[in-house]
Point group: C2
Chain length 159, copies 2
DNA sequence: GTCATTACTTCAGAAAATGAAGTATTCAAT
DNA sequence: ATTGAATACTTCATTTTCTGAAGTAATGAC
């Protein structure tokens, strides 16, 4: 009589949302571990990759700090490091000269694309989904991204 | 002419796997941030929550270290802390008395369930998916979890 | 029985994060 | 037009977390 059984039977009575989130967590952690394992020759700190992933579009450093639930000083240090690596660049927010926008450089976009691309390669084998299922999943994920991008958290740069 | 445009148009030419992974990343990071924000009165370190999530079933500490891509000493320290909090317990692996199995306690299972449950609550509003889409997504995620649990990474406790 | 290997712990040192104080800018109130 | 509270990020001393080598205990091939 083992505890924390992971079988389908333990899903009985769980809402679709919970089943969905359990899957998202496990899938993310799994892919993350494989991506990090692959990157051993040129590893970025976990939070550096996290930051690159969040910089789909330029963000204020304060907003990034809030997104990452860390102190502004943490973002400063991490941005320094990524700037040194040539992966991000700072530019002044024209609407508020106190603020800096952080954006990916060409190299940063490549790094970002590489991470996502590698994760995508892993996706099929890790997930066990077939072609049709992946297409359905991708369609749902596109809607999800659209929703998240629309709602934001917090506001991105003032247009 | 902005860079890193996140619109659907920028998805053109991307494989379903890449679109899937972009969504998984964004969804996970978003939910993670909201869950952490909620937990401010009794916050667990990020990696502590990560560990609780990985302990769906008892795991060897060495395996956990590999899953989390950290040193065994890191898992020792983190396990100490979670044990102090009453969230996990260590027990000897009967098949190898050098090894320890780490498992969730009643409180740990509650914490785990609470995290997933709260994330599930957020899921609907964050994702923007409707009832039918969530059910489809949950079905796909159940298959994903089954696949991941079957393949493991690395081996779990010897049965 | 021996000894190389494995599993986790300990601990000194390194790395990363925090939070208070600092500098520069903004903008509402006067 | 001026002022000062608030905001945005940086600096830096301190705290927290992680690493990796060395240690102890157990395993298993020979």
């Amino acid at each position: 009589m083992s505890c924390c059984d992971f079988s389908l039977r333990s899903d009985e009575g769980l809402s679709p949302e919970i089943r969905a989130m359990k899957g998202v967590y496990l899938l993310y952690l799994k892919i993350e571990e494989l991506v990090d394992a692959e990157d051993l020759e040129d590893p970025l700190p976990q939070n550096a990759r996290h930051m690159l992933l969040l910089l789909e579009s330029p963000k204020r450093m304060g907003d990034l700090a809030r997104d990452m639930l860390s102190q502004p000083s943490t973002v400063t240090a991490l941005a320094d490091k990524l700037e040194e690596l040539g992966l991000v660049a700072r530019r002044r927010d024209p609407s508020d000269r106190r603020a800096w926008l952080l954006e990916l450089t060409e190299a940063g976009r490549a790094e970002h694309a590489e991470t996502v691309s590698y994760a995508a390669e892993l996706f099929r084998s890790v997930s066990g989904l077939d072609d049709d299922e992946i297409k359905v999943f991708a369609t749902l994920m596109t809607k999800v991204r659209t929703t998240i991008e629309k709602s934001g958290l917090p506001k991105g740069p003032k247009a």
